[in-house]
Amino acid sequence: MDGEVITSVGIDIGTSTSQVVFSHLFLKNTSGCFSIPHIAFVDKKLIYASQAHLTPFKTQTTLDDEALRRLVLSEYENAGLKPGDIDAGAVIVTGEAARKENAEMLLNSLSDIAGEFVVSTAGPDLEAIISGKGSGAQQISKARGICVINFDIGGGTTNIAAFDDGEITAKGSLDIGGRQIRVEDGRISYISKSAVKIAAAAGFYPELGEPADPDMLRGICRAMAEVLEQAAGVSPADDLLEEVRTAGSTFFAAPGNAKAVCFSGGVADCIHSTGGDPFRYGDIGPFLGEEIAGSRICSELTPLRGKETIRATVVGAGSYSTTVSGSTISHHGSVLPLKNLPVLKLDHFEQERCYGGDSEYLEEKIKWFLGQNDTTRMVLSMTGERSPSYARLKTLAQCVGEAMGEALPAEAPFLLALENDTAKALGQAIEMIAGPTRAVVCIDSVRTEQGDYIDLGRPIMDGMVIPVVIKTLAFG
């Protein structure tokens, strides 16, 4: 077989709107005939994108999970797909919808219909990364080898991510967006808390119900754009930047070497095409877009047009949340797929101890980790050595095999994720120690951080690779 096509779903459930997209992801062996295989995504194609639906709520803060379930199911029908056709993807829950009880409810109500291997994720930081991938900022950064900042400017928040040579280097979120102030029948109908703060700092005091004064609203939007300038690092930061940071998000530390800027989200369309009735959307989006277009962000950095604007998050969820493991890996026993596995990441020092054979240390560490997470399943992760000797690899296998054997229940699989390409050899060596009844899955080319969760899909491409999703389950 030369290649395989994966059907992936992206579901974005936001405060105001929800969207569903389906993509085809094309996998192929990209190495030559004379080399060990290297399976990689070679193309991604959007096959269906839904309208932006209003997110159904039961109460002010509780999602209507039944209505959402129906909504998602009807989009499957529109796309001509069944839940069983889906191989991968992600559900992204953001804003108000991301409250803990909502997210958990969604996890339960959507997990069976969104396909076997679909994950739920939430949190503004993650949305920043996903929208930066969906907009194309990450790919431009990698292709040109430069640092690109992506601003995903939606209704309520601006999610910001910086990519340097394709690698994420900073992320964060601000309460700035096109619907922070709304206008109905020529009058101001809504002002958010953060809009009040920003307006006051600029000397504006808008009142609910008063006629929408274009000059004042434009002035407030200019102030918002100035906060974004601070975030981009093109103006000195003041207290306001910290005051409008989205709850639960990281402070976005602007990288000094940013060369270009990319915009996505609904407001991005107003940056690229200005003019027209400023209140056509009943909010300040068009003003905000125009003010950003004229800001120092666009004069100091090179503005780029993303592939996707309003759909960046949902496309990112559908096309960029799934990766594949290295192509020489080891999996023994049919335990996959497995979802929401907590990752125990060993640091350099701990890794060194394990290569040295200190299994008692590792056993204690694993026991502690399982206790902390109140679980019996986990993935042991480390960078691993680039090209270890076989003796050293066997010592590591002995250490891991013994420690996991002691710390884990008899039926629990041994799961390992390395960064460097030695998983097949390590997995094989661990199997020899663990014995034939123990399931061992050892994959590489996977980079994790402490506190991550990981999903391992069913092996594909004739068992050569495993789809992997790395995520942070940070429910608001």
């Binding site: 060990i36 680039r386 000797s389 390409d421 097949k424 050899a425 094989q428 199997e431 020899m432 004739d462």
Partner: protein, 293 residues
């Protein structure tokens, strides 16, 4: 002035000096050895040598994608001194790889006995490829005496064009490969050995001699200026002398910076079993057909 005259003068002066007591000969100033610097190290190779670059970071990134000598600057139309010396060092390493012999101790350490092709010297090996594809008469009898017959899988190593590659990879690859095969029950593995001055085609004779079903030779690749440590594995199902080259499956680029030796060993274990199962190798074998991963 005649040299002998100078010598006479020097001798006279030295004699005078040693006679006069109280005169101390000043100590020779301490010579500071310049710090040792390995210009073939990874760090030195990664260095951007372009003077006054517009974007040094971009050049450094580009260099990560290739072993080619890019981003090294120039002196007129030529290389800078450092680049030229590195090139020569790489060339020297390549020559060493071809002409060096494998240490007996290394082979003993991994439990391999050694035999030879019909070539008796490296010069003959380089000029007579045909002889490098045949075992010497003595080697034939040693192999027949020491090796298990009719194995499912016969593995051997040969220096080929890089002894350096064998030295760098075989001690880690071979045990990983053999352990991988041990994990799969019901497969008989032949007695591994080493052939000095051997070429790829020698595997055909080994296959016939031992009546092996699958034969795999681990052999040093022709060294280039990027690495002299690269090893390949050539594999054939029921190899026969005179068979088409297209029946060989090859996995190349096994070295520290390519596919790590231990990982290549584990991968080869699966590949050999797949070839055994498919009863085909080379273009007749699709890697994914019945591959157990």
């Amino acid at each position: 002035m005649d040299n002998s005259v100078i010598e006479q003068v020097v001798e006279a002066v030295l004699a005078e000096l040693s006679r006069s007591e109280g005169v101390t000969v000043p100590e020779a100033p301490e010579i500071h050895e310049p710090e040792e610097r390995d210009i073939t190290s990874e760090a030195e190779r990664a260095a951007v040598l372009v003077k006054n670059p517009v974007d040094a970071e971009a050049i450094a990134r580009m260099k990560k994608y290739t072993n080619a000598r890019v981003g090294v600057g120039r002196a007129g139309t030529r290389y800078n001194t450092q680049t030229l010396i590195t090139l020569r060092a790489d060339h020297a390493a390549a020559r060493d790889a071809v002409f060096m012999d494998i240490d007996r101790e290394l082979l003993d350490g991994i439990g391999l006995f050694a035999v030879e092709s019909r070539c008796t010297t490296k010069d003959e090996f380089l000029t007579r490829p045909d002889l490098g594809r045949q075992l010497s008469d003595e080697s034939v009898s040693v192999i027949l005496e020491k090796c298990v017959k009719k194995p499912d899988i016969q593995i051997f190593a040969a220096d080929g064009l890089s002894s350096t590659a064998i030295k760098a990879n075989l001690p880690d690859l071979l045990p990983s490969l053999l352990d991988g095969l041990k994990n799969r029950s019901g497969i008989s593995v032949g007695t591994p050995f080493f052939v000095k001055n051997g070429r790829v085609g020698l595997m055909d004779q080994v296959s016939e001699l031992l009546e092996a079903r699958v034969t795999c030779v681990l052999i040093g690749e022709r060294p280039g200026l990027a690495t002299a440590e690269s090893m390949s594995a050539y594999i054939a199902y029921e190899a026969r002398v005179g068979m088409e080259e297209s029946r060989r499956t090859v996995i190349s680029n096994i070295h520290r910076l390519g596919v790590p030796a231990v990982e290549a060993g584990a991968y080869l274990a699966g590949l050999l079993c797949s070839i055994l199962k498919a009863k085909a190798s080379g273009v007749g074998f699709r890697r994914d057909t019945g591959n157990e991963g």
